[in-house]
């Protein structure tokens, strides 16, 4: 038998596999070029930029209030948090003090958005291990949250909610009613969803020890949000640098131990309970007062006043034409977004638009650790790991 292969070179047996850009198992446009040894991943290289829309360049040419719709399209699973983060950045630059009522209203909106974000992320982890039921079940509850957003601002997904200095209108009685209903009915739903997955043998086997990362590596990679907390680091912007009166509320920061997919899932589950707690407190203690700060040079006046009041008309005109004076300065402000610390670095030269605006997008920063997290695992584990990281294509590519 002279033709027998004796020296078998495994290196040549590696297969290149293109996962994405459009693949039904990756939620968004992500491309991963995987080097596979059979079913084991040896190496991976991510490609991003498929939906890059040059937001930072556009932001250099738009007045501040026109940048809010751009922030919607970063992490579109929780756009109100992005909107609020942007408003607060500008308010910090201008030195605007918002009334307590505005802070509490914002907290309610932001925590609702966080629940919507975590619901989708966690139920999608279920889908990727073959449990579709939870996903179809909780999607309806995301719809209810979107109904509340619709009641507040008229939009559902890309909300453009709020204004610089406050909100465009007060909560209507119907809106308060909807929030109350949600608060009342949501715990039962979340409990049922918990029962479906948390102690499910198949789910646990598929997620425990999958896609893990140590706390040191996570910190070094700039992880934030639930992904960092799953490794055991209790860094939460809401507690560390409280904004929008978060210091008034009583909530805990859930942390994990192993930093694997199951821990990320569990941290998000707990955070939804905490968000529920925060909303309840904020709604119960919602202070009376105005729903906007006294900054007529930035807060667009209500339409009825524009049509009937000379001063409001002048301010409206000045805001739309970008005539308001902006201080020269630079400011960094960050909020706890759905998937991590969402930061805005705004440099103003006094012009009507930002001189430079940089978004610190959490998923852009932690997605680079994906290669390290999936090396040596199987393809099916890599899919679950990606969905548990909550990488949002819009935010990744800005």
């Amino acid at each position: 038998m002279e033709n027998t292969i004796t020296d078998f070179d495994h290196k040549n047996e590696y297969t290149k596999l293109n996962l994405g850009p459009t693949h039904p198992a990756t939620h968004g446009i992500f491309q991963n070029i995987l080097t596979m040894d059979g079913e084991i991943i040896v190496d991976a290289e991510q490609t991003c930029g498929y939906i890059h829309r040059a937001f930072e360049k556009i932001a250099e040419h738009r007045p501040f209030y026109q940048i809010t719709p751009l922030t919607d399209r970063l992490n579109y699973c929780s756009s109100p948090i992005n909107n609020m983060g942007w408003h607060m950045t500008v308010e910090k630059l201008l030195g605007v003090q918002t009334p307590k009522r505005v802070d509490y209203m914002r907290v309610i909106i932001m925590e609702l958005a966080r629940i919507a974000d975590h619901l989708i992320c966690n139920s999608v982890i279920g889908v990727d291990v073959g449990a579709l039921t939870g996903f179809t079940y909780v999607f309806q509850w995301r719809e209810k949250i979107y109904d509340i957003f619709e009641e507040i601002c008229g939009a559902r997904l890309t909300t453009n909610i709020g204004r610089i200095g406050g909100l465009e209108r007060d909560f209507s009685p119907a809106c308060i009613q909807k929030i109350r209903e949600f608060l009342k009915e949501f715990p039962a739903i979340l409990r049922e969803f918990t029962n479906l997955l948390e102690r499910n043998r198949i789910f646990m086997d598929r997620t425990i020890g999958v896609g893990g990362i140590s706390a040191e590596r996570a910190l070094n990679y700039g992880f934030t949000g639930p992904n960092l907390r799953a490794t055991g680091v209790d860094y939460d912007v809401r507690a560390m640098n409280p904004y929008s009166s978060y210091q008034d509320f009583d909530f805990i920061i859930p942390v994990g131990v192993n930093g694997d997919t199951y821990d990320r899932f569990m941290v998000r589950q707990q955070e939804m309970w905490e968000s529920h707690k925060i909303i309840t407190q904020a709604l119960e203690n919602l202070p009376e007062g105005k729903y906007f700060a006294e900054v007529p040079q930035f807060f667009l006046p209500p339409k009825e006043e524009v049509y009937n009041n000379m001063e409001a008309l002048i301010w409206h005109f000045k805001i739309v034409m970008g005539e308001a004076d902006v201080p020269v300065g630079e400011v960094y402000h960050s909020v706890e977004g759905g998937n991590g610390e969402l930061g805005f670095y705004l440099v103003s030269d006094g012009g009507r638009a930002a001189y430079r605006l940089h978004f610190r997008r959490p998923s852009f920063i932690y997605y680079q650790a994906y290669t390290e997290m999936i090396k040596g695992s199987t393809l099916s584990d890599a899919i679950v790991t990606m969905s548990s990281m909550n990488v949002i294509a819009g935010e990744l590519d800005a």
Binding site: I58, K92, L219, N220, G329, E330, Y332, G343, R356, F364
Partner: protein, 168 residues
């Protein structure tokens, strides 16, 4: 052990790098220092390893372009965060547009990898020692750096729009 705050941080930095600190500001309570670009790696290494400051978290890296500042048109801005002391620091390193090279800090912070690639992609700042310096969000065939100020948002030869009233 004294409290780690902006004053303490600045004091430590002055001791170590006094000759290279070009300016110090504190806009909105965030200590901002401008240092010469040669010491960026030494500076972040010092801050990372310092037993008290412990700036082990790199929040953000981004580029800046100031066409009017002759000789220091481009800048890299780092936001560092010490989670232990809850203290942030902003570091700016300016450089000439003719020699846009700066040390990469990926050896200290893995998080810098893609952020430096992004900065290179948009501003053309080359990071010496970066393991894989290529474009990340734009197409690789692109031969210019779009976030530089000389590139307008729209085609400047358009005549169907009057920008006298709108636009920057």
């Amino acid at each position: 052990m004294s409290e780690v705050n902006n004053a303490f941080l600045l004091n430590e930095l002055q001791d170590q790098f006094s000759a290279n600190i070009l300016s110090v500001e504190e806009p909105y309570g965030l200590l901002t220092i401008e240092v010469s670009k040669d010491i960026n790696l030494a500076l972040v290494t010092f801050l990372n390893k310092h037993p008290q400051i412990q700036m082990q978290f790199l929040t953000d890296v981004c580029g800046m372009h100031h066409p009017d500042l002759k000789g220091k048109e481009l800048a890299v801005v780092y936001h560092l965060h010490s989670l232990v002391n809850n203290l942030r620091l902003r570091v700016k390193c300016h450089m000439s547009i003719d020699a846009p090279q700066i040390n990469s800090i990926t050896s200290i912070y893995s998080a810098a990898n893609w952020q430096e690639r992004e900065t290179y992609d948009f501003f053309g700042i080359e990071f010496i020692g970066h393991p894989n310096l290529k474009r990340i969000l734009n197409v690789e065939e692109m031969d210019y750096f779009p976030m530089r100020k000389e590139f307008p948002l729209e085609d400047p030869t358009r005549t169907d729009k009057n920008d006298n009233y709108f636009g920057r």
